[in-house]
């Protein structure tokens, strides 16, 4: 059949695309991959958490029910890691949100040169964790760290400080590095949000006599609410789930001062090859995240919009 189209012929696939199976053909390839590399491993992973599986002791195998979960309750490291996770994620998100907001507000004024500044501010977000980690380890090094040097010269510090080796500063130092790495993400999303607010709103408010602070409180914050909520939840998920930066900077130390759940689970799997317990830890992590996400979406009511 000559269709009369000017576009090149598409043969059999073209004919198939006219049938009602087309939509399934489009979806099938990615769905197969997702089921293969996500759905199956996830279910399998949950199953492992109820089993004994240690690569170092192949003989030790079989179902153990809730054993790993019961062990967890009496595991002091688990509770320390849980506490650190909450601290790490909370402070990092607050810091990143604050810095991101300042950056977005400044970028949104569109002064000449904004384009270049936007690119420079975005760069840390695309830096690999491995490089960012070692770079900051060098900057904060107790013997040759340039930040120590600057702080001593300015007079803030008496002598060089071992930021990552001191249990009192280790967690704060890693939060600082994480904030550097992650705040551009908030800057980007909030900038998009700010650009979406119609200018007329501010003009109308100014006519009504609202000052900058009132405008910020009554227009900017409510209009940005859903963007902030979405950004926070995405960031919390990735912070809870990825131990990369801590693995490189401190490995959870000194002691367990920077041990978080994701890192603990990873080390249990990678160092001890205790897959059963590591799976149980990550299942608990996942459940906590789900509960948080559900409660957060409910409270911030982003689901209604």
């Amino acid at each position: 059949m000559d269709t009369g189209s000017h576009l090149p012929k598409t043969g059999m696939i073209g004919e198939l695309s006219e049938t009602r199976y087309w939509i399934y053909l489009l979806l099938l390839p990615s769905l197969v991959i997702i089921l293969l590399v996500i759905a199956y491993p996830t279910i399998y992973g949950m199953a492992i958490s109820f089993r004994e599986m240690r690569l170092t002791r192949p003989g030790l195998t079989g179902w153990v029910g809730f054993k790993h979960y019961l062990v967890m309750i009496d595991d002091p490291v688990f509770w320390v890691a849980l506490k650190n996770t909450v601290l790490w994620v909370t402070f990092a998100v607050v810091l990143e949100l604050g810095l991101g907001f300042i950056a977005a507000t400044a970028l949104n004024r569109n002064v000449p040169g904004t384009g270049i500044f936007a690119v420079l501010i975005l760069v840390p977000y695309f830096l690999p964790n491995v490089v960012a980690g070692h770079m900051w380890a060098l900057l904060l090094d107790p013997r040759l760290g340039v930040i120590n040097d600057i702080l001593v010269r300015v007079g803030v510090l008496g002598s060089y400080k071992a930021w990552f080796a001191d249990p009192n500063t280790a967690l704060a130092a890693t939060i600082f590095v994480e904030a550097w790495h992650g705040f551009p993400f908030f800057a980007l999303l909030l900038l998009a949000g700010l650009k979406g607010i119609p200018h007329d709103l501010y003009k109308a408010a100014a006519v009504d006599g609202a000052g900058p602070i009132a405008q910020f409180r009554l227009i900017t914050v409510p209009m940005l609410k859903s963007v902030i909520a979405a950004a926070v939840i995405l960031r919390v998920i990735s912070l809870v789930n990825s131990p990369d930066l801590l693995l490189i900077l401190t490995g959870g130390g000194p002691g367990d001062a920077t041990q978080v759940l994701s890192l603990y689970a990873f080390q249990t799997a990678y160092k001890d090859f205790n897959f059963g317990y590591a799976s149980a830890l990550s299942v608990v992590m996942f459940v906590i995240l789900m509960v948080f996400a559900y409660a957060y979406i409910r409270l911030s009511k982003i689901g209604q919009e």
Binding site: V131, L188, F266
Partner: protein, 281 residues
């Protein structure tokens, strides 16, 4: 009155520049310092008094990491893994993104939400079963196995990003082609995909950067020279050989070069795409 308004505006501009300049310094300063370190002799790094501007500039750190370690092999492995990941995402994700963007069908929203939820699974929860599964099919410590593992979290991201770009492509031309007698597949292949090519490039670059940078999966799923990627190799070198700071810095600079290059190439489109996807999501 006009004078105060102008001066207030001026003050706001000055404050804006102050914020932008200090934030840019905060973001770029550490990277500049790493670059300076990579150009220093080790003796000039480990000194009593800090050298802010290198006295002597040397490229021996770059020569050292490239010739005296397995760095070229690591970079090659990373390149191949990244390439496979992008090809798999492009081949399968483009079709799905197109379907989500253009058609309504039963279960569409559920499926899209499902694509998002899978990103919430903790990496560790995926890594352990992936390790067991890949080992049983002989794909552990292989570049294809690692690339497949990467698609587990990058394919959903790719689909979501690309859907935003497809949504933005005008539907009129497509309808015209259909009226003209083109098949659905023809309209997609010759009209919509060329229209959304910026989005295709940007989404591909975004997942390419993510695959290039990835560390945790690679650490767990690769064990030997055959498939080990550069983040893992660099990290292990630090642990095993007490890598000198200058060499480590040179390795860092070399390995972020491709990222910076790709980022510079598509930053404008990518920023648009990221924000568009985020707002709609």
């Amino acid at each position: 009155m006009a004078a105060t308004r102008r001066s207030r505006r001026m003050a706001a501009d000055i404050l804006t520049y102050f914020v932008l300049v200090s934030m840019s310094l905060f973001c770029i300063g550490p990277i500049v310092w790493m670059f300076l370190t990579s150009l220093k002799l080790e003796a000039d790094i480990v000194t009593q008094t800090m050298q802010y501007i290198p006295n002597r500039i040397t490229f021996q750190n770059y020569v050292a990491i490239w010739t005296q370690s397995s760095f070229p092999v690591l970079i090659g492995n990373s390149f191949i893994v990244t390439l496979i990941t992008v090809v798999v995402c492009l081949a399968t994700g483009t079709l799905a993104a197109y379907a989500f963007s253009r058609y309504t069908f039963r279960g569409r929203n559920t499926l899209m939400l499902g694509y998002l939820v899978v990103r919430m699974f903790p990496a560790v929860m995926m890594i352990i079963p992936l390790y067991v599964v890949l080992r049983s099919v002989g794909l552990i410590d292989s570049r294809i196995g690692l690339a497949l593992a990467y698609t587990s979290f990058l394919l959903p991201l790719f689909v979501w990003m690309l859907k935003g770009f497809f949504d933005a492509a005008p539907k009129e031309l497509e309808s015209a082609a259909r009226i003209d007698g083109s098949t659905r597949f023809g309209a997609m292949l010759w009209i919509v995909i060329p229209l959304a090519r910026n989005g295709l490039v940007a989404s591909s670059v975004f997942i390419a950067i993510a695959a290039w940078n990835e560390f945790l999966f690679a650490l767990m799923l690769t064990t030997g020279q055959g498939s080990r990627t550069w983040p893992v190799g660099l990290q292990l070198m630090v642990g095993e050989f007490q890598l000198p700071w200058g060499v480590l810095a040179a390795g860092g600079i070399l390995s972020i070069l491709p990222v910076m290059l790709m980022f510079a190439l598509v930053q404008r489109v990518m920023v648009q795409g990221l924000t568009a996807g985020a707002i709609k999501g």
